[in-house]
Symmetry: C2
Subunit: 578 residues, 2 copies
């Protein structure tokens, strides 16, 4: 994993510009670049798999033309403000370049952002990019914004998938994107108390590199780890794949410095657990850019574990996997990460493999025979789980033994470390797949929810039903695609992570249709007991559902908190309910 | 453990009125009543132990005379309000009785509350007690309070030790204590998702009884478990002794209904983990009665564990115990509860034992010889840990084996289940000891902090030093007493729980001196990196330290939140920073 240098390696699509899927000779797909385990080999099974999923024929040469150049309007005039900027900061601290402005004017939401910047037109573009280098910079910038009535938008890794970075078209003031990525230092490490003070613009990859160099780890691993920042994690209330061992972001961060128009919201010192009256710090998670700039935070760190071990499980049916996870959730051997993927994702994982040859082909065939013929697993029903265990040697052994024993009680086969590692690592590479499909007229999105254990099946059934209905209603071609996994387990609930997509060839405004369908799917989730979001956040695409989650008085109080902190609405990104 | 019936079993002192320590024949102490393991037998070693600790002579007959009768002024007139109450509620829903009013006018803070109600005079007494029976009652009562400008004070178990229940003498409006204890029902249990909806006036004992009847447990076990309420736990941000397995209150509660002058603050449904923008629910923990009435909450429940097993460890020195706990905190075999007591508390536990006779006396002598002569433990240095493990048989075995192995690395002896159980259970009985000592001219208080691991030793040393200095400065008789334990462990920090006391015979206004010393001890804690409180809360006695914990902008925002929710300051108890 590598960290993005300032603007040089990333573009409008997901991730690093040197990494992309492309159909090559013989209709085999290749992931170009050399960053991932998936990179650099031919995948002959992938196109046929996609064609069968969507019931379509893919023409490798039929690709949507990109048209980003039309997207950059001129800078909103405000000479007094721009003069003040010039006086206050050196010239390498800000940019009016079209490319910088456009890159800072969207996140990674498919229908409303990426599809638009690549194939349509963004409604609003930032007027200036400010590269914040310190907490004092942040304070100075906010002062200027107040003095000149300018709108500020915090910008970290740009990986939001909730339209949290979509600029409000109705904003008439100049908008400055405050890029935090120059604040990427670990300020100190306290090895005894296992804490570090970190600048909030650091990416996950940078943070891990800096900590590991000194024998420690944070191990907060959202799918966006390579690109997203500590401040962004706090702003969205992020979840990490290894949260069972390391916690979600709200468990990791022990003191946030949020610079607001009313001053710094922070504690004098980090605290693990206190009774200090009402605590503001927990309120700052999920601020979604509405209140100010997260510039620094104190986080928990851990010694690098002695062992990291992978494993994988193959269940005859998704439901059996859920039952196994349910029992596991009540145990003391929950691994750092366990994820249960449905049959579609399992088969997708298979389709990403290279053509097997020689002994490997024979071994693969034998394994397949064992699973299908001897164990009688139905190839259209079986589901897989990847397991990551970390800790001391004996901790890992304890977990591995107990998990294997438990899984067998639910009819699972233990399919080993290599499948587990591969499944876990796929995550980082898979994110690039969305943009590949879009260029071939297939658009889709991921969405997720946390839901009580009892509601997993009702929610998945309802989402499938609504998707099928809508696909028909909109008269879309081919078949729609829906797949899901249980990506996190909790005492009372789980995170269900969905992917859906549909073929758009010949469809007018497919991004509008996609957006409508996504709304209806969320409606189905909430009507069946799911939540508004597990970790993506509300942003703008889910704001209509806030009244389904909170009492009126709660919504009103949140609005009053915003008014108290930022009366002039300097942070006018208008996420969640503002 | 039993639950207090409405007002019949409890008085101004701690706990049940039928339970109290008293010096009997031969200067042996007995705990009267039959509620506890300590009840009903003679403790011949206790008085000598106290005398040596404080360097005093105790005269069993020299007891402070109680004078509660002088404490009840007449009701503040407000005929319109009282008429409205009479119209709105049946007569069994409220009381103007002196006894009810006095019982609801203080908590259990030693110097400022219990000592005053028993031996001095309370500055302010509530004018009426309202027995709230439903969320609708709470709403109606708040409406009336707004209409008639009356002050409301939520009242649960009355076990606050932070002056959170001390009534502001400057409050000129009538004060109504809203007693929540009639709201004591478990409304529903969801066994699949392991949740229950519970009325917030339920005591810990009632909650456990109701859940266990149906095969479940919550297992939130603060020392006040028998008396304190779910609503009180939320209001103070309580911690439970078994938090390692069951969580602290903020980990347990998944939806709070807080009825405020601006409406109900609540979620539409409970959530385990969501990204829903800024979350208000975490802000409600530690509200300390400043915002409204907690009437109901959805909590996590657990199947009753297959096993509960106790163990105990004897360390040659407190510091070795701390080192062991530090390593344990990073492991996957942290037991439900582990507490490390210092040498004073260890010896106090020994002093509570009955006189040993026959074989038991011989066995005790042999054990002592083994520890002191063979193992060369210094009797004035050794420290003990009690361990409680819960879970499946194999989980408990895993923990027990690993903990024993770890402890031995730190020079500990494993001293078995019986000592562990006794140590754990002592907690509930010990709380009565404070009132016994006070009647014999010894007053003291408990206080606690959360502190980074590195600060345990500096804090304990500083607290001892300040106590010694102050004891001398105030010219107090005998020796002061200080004892502490590590009652909770976390990744980066621990809870240190202190007890201190001093002999007051011949001292003028000892409660004022005690209060001043407590302030100086907190100053020493904070100056050495400790927090304002781990679980007792801020109330009024620690409000001077809020600026040591939060930035100015944070304090200002908390004040604005209060104003937004309760503009007329109906909930005028003035805790924390209001």
């Amino acid at each position: 994993m590598t960290a993005p240098a300032e603007n040089s390696l990333w573009g409008h699509k997901w991730g690093f510009a040197d990494t992309y899927f492309k159909i090559g000779a013989d209709r085999a797909v290749m992931m170009h670049g050399d960053r991932y385990a998936l990179s650099g080999y031919a995948m002959p099974h992938l196109v046929p798999y996609i064609e069968s999923l969507f019931d379509i024929q893919l023409d490798p040469d039929d690709r949507l033309p990109e048209r980003e150049a039309i997207n950059v309007p001129s800078v909103t005039p405000h000479p007094a403000f721009y003069d003040a900027i010039e006086t206050a900061f050196p010239s390498n601290r800000y940019s009016f370049e079209d490319r910088d402005r456009l890159l800072h004017s969207h996140g990674q939401t498919t229908f409303e952002e990426v599809y638009k910047v690549l194939y349509r037109k963004l409604e609003r573009v930032v007027d200036m990019v400010f590269f914040c280098a310190s907490t004092e910079d942040a304070e100075r910038m906010i002062e200027l914004a107040i003095a000149h009535d300018v709108c500020l938008v915090p910008f970290g890794g740009g990986t939001s998938v909730s339209c949290a970075l979509t600029l409000p078209p109705e904003e008439t003031r100049p908008i400055v994107s405050v890029d935090m990525k120059r604040m990427n230092r670990v300020e100190w490490i306290d090895p005894k108390n296992l804490r570090a003070r970190v600048q909030a613009g650091i990416t996950g990859a940078q943070l891990e590199a800096a900590l590991r160099e000194r024998g420690h780890t944070c191990s907060h691993e959202p799918d966006s780890l390579e690109l997203s920042t500590l401040g962004g994690w706090i702003a969205t209330n992020a979840s990490g794949m290894k949260k069972n061992r390391y916690g979600n972001i709200e468990d990791i961060v022990e003191n946030i410095t949020l610079v607001t128009p009313s001053g710094r919201l922070e504690q004098v010192a980090a605290t693990s657990r206190v009774a200090m009256g009402m605590q503001l710090q927990p309120l700052l998670f999920g601020n979604e850019g509405n209140l100010g700039l997260v510039t620094e935070a104190t986080i928990k760190i851990h010694p690098i574990p002695a062992q990291t071990q992978y494993n994988s499980l193959l269940f005859p049916h998704f439901d059996r996997g859920v039952e196994c996870l349910y029992e596991l959730a009540q145990s003391n051997y929950i691994p750092a990460s366990i994820r249960l993927v449905d049959n579609y994702q399992f088969r997708f994982g298979q389709a990403l493999k290279p053509a097997a040859t020689g002994l490997k082909a024979i071994a693969d065939r034998l394994k397949k025979q064992y699973v299908l013929n001897l164990k009688k697993f139905d190839p259209t029903q079986m589901a897989a789980a990847t397991v990551v265990m970390e800790g001391s040697e004996s901790e890992v052994r304890y977990q591995n033994d107990r998990i294997a024993a438990l899984a067998k009680q639910y009819g699972a086969l233990v399919t080993g470390a290599e499948n587990g590692r591969r499944g876990y690592m796929l995550t980082y590479a898979i994110a690039y797949f969305r943009d590949f499909l879009a260029s071939h007229h297939i658009i889709g999105e991921t969405f997720e929810t946390s839901a009580p254990w009892s509601q997993i099946q009702p929610i998945c059934t309802a989402v499938q039903q609504v998707l099928d209905d809508k696909h028909q209603q909109f008269g879309l071609p081919g078949k729609p695609y829906l797949s899901y996994r249980i990506s996190q387990i909790y005492h009372s609930s789980v995170c269900i992570y969905f992917m859906f997509g549909f073929y758009t060839k010949g469809v007018r405004e497919p991004e509008v249709i996609g957006s409508k369908i996504e709304y209806d799917l969320r409606r189905a989730i909430i009507d069946n007991g799911g939540s508004i979001s597990h970790h993506h956040g509300v942003g703008k695409i889910r704001r209509a559902f806030v009244p389904d989650t909170l009492s009126e008085a709660s919504i009103d109080l949140l609005k009053q908190i915003k008014r108290a902190v930022d009366p002039a609405n300097i942070f006018g990104i208008r996420n969640t309910l503002y």
